[in-house]
């Protein structure tokens, strides 16, 4: 009997080919019809990204280092971290990676801003409705687990190669944590604190901005931190579709077996990651200082 042979009763070869062709053709005609509109839609983003990159590159390097050190101080209030920032940037510049680092900095900043602007409201909506949560959660799961190369294909088909498709793929990869943690943070807000707000007649806005978001802020901030980290880890893959930055030399190093080049640029990405992580984490912790019961006697 056929049933016990080791051959799976698969779809006919021609049908399968036609199916794949059909899907490809369908998507191609979709991208022909709407590709340009989409490109126009993302044009302001592109303008902003290009402007920021140019600004970073045109600014004298000592000024950049001073600004970064100042931001680190504002975020972390730690001389150790400020010192680390200065030393890292000096080394990056000394080893000839300044321009690539500035490009990476630009795309990370823009990608993180997009994720925050889209992700936090989405997380708030999710916290409001269980149905929305059950719809969005599996989508986020797919976004986090699907191999990045797979969604690069439709993005490139739609928008071609360049900064915007790179930015979009970075955002697809990096947005889930901020949505998840905003949702979680708001859902975890102390029920009694909320009930008190209700009992005093708080409106929906007063509840949201006066109680829910402030109390969820540490979680939301953990989400921002994760989003930045994930955006940084997409830098190399994004460079495959034409995003300038530290990923480009890494890619070149892989194809040419340049160990030192790959190592240096890789370490520069690590340095950026550590800086962003420490600064945003210690800022998040400072947001929670009211939770500590010090001076208590």
């Amino acid at each position: 009997m056929d049933f016990w042979t080791n051959k799976f009763p698969e779809m006919g070869r021609t049908e399968l080919r036609d199916l794949k062709k059909g899907i490809d053709a369908g998507f191609r005609s979709f991208s022909r019809a709407f590709g340009e509109d989409l490109e126009n839609l993302f044009h302001p983003l592109l303008t902003f990204l290009v402007w920021l990159e140019k600004l970073l590159l045109a600014t004298p390097w000592p000024l950049i280092i001073i600004i970064m050190a100042a931001l680190a101080w504002l975020g972390a209030r730690s001389l150790w971290i400020v010192g680390g920032v200065i030393v890292s940037f000096l080394l990056i510049g000394y080893f000839g990676m300044w321009e690539d680092t500035m490009s990476t900095l630009a795309i990370i900043s823009v990608a993180t801003s997009v994720c925050v602007i889209v992700g936090i409201p989405l997380g708030i909506l999710m916290a409001r409705s269980d149905r929305l949560q059950s719809i969005i959660t599996p989508i986020l799961d797919v976004m986090q687990t699907i191999p990045a190369f797979v969604y690069l294909i439709p993005v490139v088909m739609l928008l071609g190669i360049g900064k915007v498709p790179g930015l979009i793929s970075v955002c697809i990869y990096a947005i889930p944590p901020i949505v998840r943690l905003t949702n979680l943070g708001i859902r975890l807000v102390d029920k009694e604190a909320l009930e008190a707000a209700d009992a005093f007649g708080a409106s929906y806005r007063q509840r949201l901005f006066g109680v829910q978001i402030p109390l969820a802020l540490p979680n939301i901030f953990a989400g921002v931190n994760q989003t930045i980290m994930m955006a940084l880890s997409m830098v190399v893959i994004a460079s495959m579709i034409g995003v300038a930055g530290l990923g480009v030399p890494v890619l070149r190093a892989i194809s040419n077996q340049y160990l030192a080049l790959g190592l240096m640029n890789g370490l520069a990405i690590v340095a950026l990651a550590i800086i962003f992580d420490r600064v945003s984490q210690s800022y998040g912790q400072r947001l929670q200082r009211h939770r500590q019961g010090i001076n208590h006697d």
């Binding site: 102390d190 009694e192 008190a196 009992a199 007649g201 409106s203 109390l215 009211h290 019961g293 208590h296």
Partner: protein
């Protein structure tokens, strides 16, 4: 008794998938157990009727699961009822529109919570000012306006502390000041002192009674502690399994418990410190002896009466006219825990 401020009128609350379908069963007198096992609904409140007198402290008492916290949340409609009315000054809270309800909560009734319900991200002063900021007053002005309440509960100097830096008793003072700051006529207190140590609890009861002599708010106070109820309550209502068992004057409750459940509650209290002489006196009779005020508790009257030659005392009301008398034997009998109670014997008036 004074006019009622809040009238709870045939209030029902059933928790479950379809409370309305279970309502007729409850009205027909199905037991809580049967409702849960056969119909999958939980009976929260069963035909509650309570009049809350104006400017008095009404204590709603019951063990955990008796529905008391559910009941108090119906007064400001944090919980929606299944059926019934909640009249405050004659207006049905349960029929209010969303914006009317918000105004009711902002200006008319404020609340104190068992676990304080403070906003940990706000300072003490900001917490106390919270109700005013919700009303739309800017924070600096709200802080200034609410500062006297902060001082009144003894928290001056702690304005810029965060709640986590305070002890439980002090946190509840913040909760109390926050509730007072809106100048609402009605104060809802949900087991407000239950989470505190006994000493702090007594302390907070004093703070509350002290404030009440001055402010005369209508207070609904939830507790599971009979001593607390007797100490602060002008009126006590006792709930069990979502039903109202008995309500009335605390003295009456002690002398005439409606059933064994309430008898079990009251049998272990220190009657000498709770019962007042007017409750057990011989009304209208006079004797030779010292005069004692009607509200004196038995423990104090015992000393006075035993010191007098006739071993008895006259009882005078607040106008200093004699309204009755009491003998030492009566006081001693009053102190003893009653063996059997029969409501017909009561001399309460």
């Amino acid at each position: 008794m004074t006019n009622s401020k809040i009238q709870i009128d045939h209030l029902y609350k059933i928790f479950g998938a379809n409370p309305q379908s279970a309502l007729p069963l409850v009205k027909d007198g199905i037991s809580k157990q049967d409702l849960l096992e056969k119909h999958g609904h939980v009976l929260g409140l069963n035909d509650i009727n309570i009049d809350v007198p104006d400017r008095c402290i009404t204590v709603i008492m019951g063990l955990s699961g008796s529905g008391k916290s559910t009941l108090i949340r119906h007064i400001n409609r944090l919980i929606e009822p299944t059926a019934g009315r909640m009249l405050v000054d004659g207006h049905d809270v349960l029929a209010m529109s969303k914006s009317q309800l918000i105004d009711f909560r902002r200006y008319k009734a404020s609340m104190v919570f068992q676990k304080f319900g403070l906003h940990v991200h706000r300072t003490v002063a900001e917490n106390v000012a919270y109700g005013l900021t919700v009303q739309g007053i800017r924070l600096p002005k709200a802080k200034k306006q609410s500062h006297k309440w902060l001082e009144r509960v003894g928290l001056a100097g702690f304005e810029n502390h965060f709640p986590a830096q305070l002890s439980g008793g002090m946190q509840q003072r913040v909760g109390l000041a926050r509730a007072l700051a809106t100048d609402a006529e009605i104060l809802l207190m949900d087991e407000a002192f239950s989470a505190l140590d006994p000493l702090i609890r007594t302390d907070m009861q004093d703070v509350l009674l002290d404030l009440q002599t001055e402010l005369h708010k209508t207070i609904v106070f939830i507790t599971h502690d009979l001593d607390e109820a007797l100490r602060i309550g002008d009126k006590i209502a006792i709930l069990r399994d979502g039903s109202l068992i008995q309500q009335g004057d605390p003295q009456h409750l002690i002398m005439h418990p409606a059933d064994d459940y309430i008898f079990d509650f009251v049998k272990d209290i220190n009657r000498g410190r709770v019962l007042k002489v007017k409750t057990i006196m011989n009304a209208g009779q006079t004797v030779q002896g010292p005069e004692i005020p009607a509200d004196m508790v038995l423990e104090e009257a015992l000393q006075l009466a035993s010191g007098s030659e006739t071993r008895a005392a006259n009882i005078v009301d607040s106008d200093n006219s004699v309204i009755g008398s009491i003998s030492l034997d009566q006081i001693v009998a009053g102190l003893a825990r009653p063996q059997v109670d029969s409501p017909s014997e009561g001399q309460y008036r």
